[in-house]
């Protein structure tokens, strides 16, 4: 059964112009108008829309110390008749450190005790912290503090000084070596 499409008349200018629309045409027109308005509204909303993300950040504690190499051999050369205490020093090595922690310190230890009648002292400089000066590490099998109060940041090209001392009654000592461990710790 065929339905008849109803017509709608619109009178303009006091009835002088009369326009007739089919009812289905009006429906299509209103739908198109709605879509146009809706899309326009969507474009204008892009400036005010928002989205959020949660980012988790963490900075872990970092401490790093490195030395430039080994000091020159500390050789004491004296006459056998020399009876006074005699010392030689080396300050040719440097160290760098970096930390993001406060109140750090450098401790030093020696791998084995020095021979009887000799001593080994260590001085570690630091521009930002407190150096303990010349520290005796002759038998420092357990670490001893050489620099304290190191704050966050880095220290570059800091001087390390070793002093080797032999008493006058010490006989010849052939070449020996010791490993000195510098530890940056809290």
């Amino acid at each position: 059964m065929k339905q008849r499409d109803e017509k709608i008349s619109i009178a303009l200018l006091g009835g002088r112009i009369r326009i007739q629309f089919q009812k289905s045409f009006i429906g299509v027109f209103l739908l198109t108008l709605f879509l146009l308005i809706n899309s326009s509204t969507s474009f204008t909303q892009t400036h005010s829309s928002s989205a959020s993300q949660r980012i988790t950040l963490e900075v872990k504690p970092i401490s790093k110390i490195s030395v430039s190499g080994n000091p020159n051999p500390l050789i004491i050369k004296t006459d056998a008749s020399f009876t006074e205490e005699y010392s030689v020093s080396d300050e040719n090595t440097r160290y760098n450190l970096f930390t993001n922690l406060d109140n750090m310190k450098i401790v030093a230890s020696i791998s084995d005790r020095m021979p009887t009648g000799t001593s080994l002292k260590l001085k570690v400089d630091n521009d930002r912290a407190t150096s303990a000066g010349l520290v005796d590490i002759t038998d420092a099998m357990t670490p001893v503090e050489v620099v304290t109060g190191i704050g966050r940041g880095n220290d570059l090209d800091q001087k390390i000084c070793y002093t080797f001392t032999a008493q006058g009654n010490v006989s010849e000592i052939p070449n020996q070596s010791r490993i000195i461990t510098l530890t940056l710790t809290n």
Binding site: L74, A80, I179, T181
Partner: protein, 133 residues
Amino acid sequence: MIRWKEIFFVFVLILGVCNIMFAQTTSTSTQTVMFAVERSISPNLNISSNKNSLSISSENTELQTQLNRQSLKMTVSVAKSDKNFETDNQTEKFSSSSNIMSTSTSHLDLGSLIQTEQSSVVLNSSVILTITE
């Protein structure tokens, strides 16, 4: 029955341990220090001569002290020169050498050694005392 509380506790504990392990709060660096003591023998002897013999003054005691301080085996030799003793090719070795171990029980009597060997030395000659390892 699964004990979820205990499992969760262990999980959190493992996370904490891992966090501590990966957080670097300590750093170490090492240096090797080499050292030695070298004692050279430098005798300061006053050797005087008279008609038939040489004599060594009190510096002999000093030399003996130096030798005793060393724990190495030494060779002592005495030579003479008619000319300047500083030119080695002019010297003539006239004394035997002696190996000694300078310990507290083994002493070197340099004075007697030289005086014994010196009886026929011509006067006006220089004497060189050489001590080597």
